[in-house]
Amino acid sequence: MSLLEVRNLSVAFGRRPPTLTGIDFTIDAGARVGLIGQSGSGKSVTALAVMGLLPEYATATGSIRLGGTELIGRPDALFAPMRGNDLSMVFQEPMTALDPTMKVGRQVAEVVRLHRKSSREQARALTLDMLEQVDLPDPEQVYDAFAHQLSGGQRQRVVLAMALINQPDLVICDEPTTALDVTVQQQVLRVLRHNLDAVGAACLFITHDLAVLSQVCDQVLVMLDGAIVEAGELKSVFTDPQHPYTRGLLATARLDQVAPGSRLPTVADFYRRPERTPGTEVAG
């Protein structure tokens, strides 16, 4: 049995046409699965659906099972204790994911105290330890800092610490390095890989950057217009893509393999979406 089993998951917002249309995928314990697609393809909605954090007016149908427990329709009183403990999430923008009025160390310690009985001192000690695990020098000082006093990379490490401190089975990362500088991105990815190994957590890694994905994941899901159009091992999908859209994505991502100044391949060279309303076509 896989750790996460998503079966025929559809999500619709209000009366609009569904954003996700019957998607299936599984994540094994400890696996790193990348979810790739362009903005609006439904990547983040998938993440929020698994976390049970879709807004009220969204309806999700199908099945999401984590360790055999059905999550769809699970009352929030029973779901909340799982979040941060069995599954957790890392957000794209670390500045807005941290409360500006609360010391960051306390925000991490809260996650500990929400899920297990521990004194303030114990939670603080665990937090300091975790801050060190994510390569933050001088954890004591970081603990007492506010979000705006830290750099972007430091903030994202704090968010990683929040997501990992209870050693969850599954960590969902939604574009965790998109807002960061390249040199910082490199460090944060290294910290993420290291800590996923240390905790033994599986990861659903959402990104639009194929290079970043290849540095974290073993498996890939390709999403297009709310459906998964291709899935498989990283190497086989990247070296022998089956769906034309995947081929297009790969071609546009290899900026390093095109002679400077020459025409870049575009997705439209490989895949044209069936006629849709104007303004939403793949062609930019």
Binding site: Q215, L234, A253, R254, T266, G284
Partner: protein, 275 residues
């Protein structure tokens, strides 16, 4: 444009640079004084495609804001075709406004959501400063059709509103607006950073194409070194408000001299299958 780049101040003998920047400094005073741009000198020649690369806080955005006279330097001089733009009152900056146009990072916020695309694109032509200049097209409708075609948007786009377009199309609208007054210099500030990878390629192709066809001079700011390598012939690497390394794209990418440039290049994520 095989012309070697000269962001290096040691070659001031260039007869007619488009931009000549000398010892430019911008200090933001306050409780914590910030030196955003620190003693920067560079020249930009006609037809050059200069990439300015740096991480957040490197001062690259402040630098181009000063080049476009949207911010005033604390010290130093900027000359456009030999004419200083420092201390010139806004109403006399017509020569700069018609010659230099900008494309911003996020087309969602750089286009007024309540204006029709046609009005957005012709807005620079209607401005008080541009209206009577001989180098600015006076037949607005004709120019609108021209630039829409140049950026590959259907002619009926003019009657629609920005929200009816995708991100890539909106960036085309922003580019069309920049081209409308027939500028000589196009300053692009992270023009593809807010776009999807799939759309990025199309906008870069378009920019390359337009710069070629219209013989534009381009200053292209980006944090993405691969993008800069693709569209620029020369590059200046900024860090902490200073230019730490400059040269032709070829030189800087093949034989980076500064450890910082080397680190930046090493940090570019590449597709790999072994960890």
């Amino acid at each position: 444009m095989s012309d070697p780049s000269t962001p290096d101040p040691s070659t001031p003998d260039d007869p007619a640079p488009v931009y000549a920047v000398r010892d430019l400094t911008r200090v933001y005073p306050g409780s914590r004084t910030v030196v955003a741009v620190d003693n920067v000198s560079l020249t930009v020649r006609r037809g050059q495609r200069l990439g300015i690369v740096g991480e957040s806080g490197s001062g690259k955005s402040t630098l181009i804001r000063m080049l476009a006279a949207l911010d005033r330097p604390t010290a130093g001089d900027i000359r456009l075709h030999g004419r200083s733009i420092i201390g010139v009152p806004e109403r006399r900056l017509g020569f700069l406004r018609s010659a230099v146009q900008l494309v911003f990072q996020d087309p969602r916020s750089s286009l007024d959501p309540r204006m029709r695309v046609g009005d957005i694109i012709t807005e620079p032509l209607r401005s008080r400063m541009m209206r009577h200049r001989s180098d600015v097209p006076d037949d607005h409708a004709a120019r609108l059709t021209e630039v829409l075609e140049a950026v590959g948007l259907p002619a009926d786009s003019a009657r629609r509103f920005p929200h009816e377009f995708s991100g890539g199309q909106r960036q085309r609208i922003a580019i069309a607006r920049a081209l409308a007054p027939r500028p000589e210099v196009l300053i692009a500030d992270e023009p593809v950073s807010a776009l999807d990878v799939s759309v990025r390629a199309q906008v870069l192709n378009l920019l390359n194409d337009l710069v070629d066809r219209m013989g534009l001079t381009m200053i292209f700011v980006s944090h993405d070194l691969l993008v800069v390598r693709h569209v620029c012939d020369s590059v200046a690497v900024m860090r902490g408000g200073r230019i730490v390394e400059a040269g032709t794209t070829e030189q800087v990418y093949q034989r980076p001299q500064e450890p910082y440039t080397q680190a930046l290049l090493a940090a570019i994520p590449t597709i790999r299958f072994e960890r």
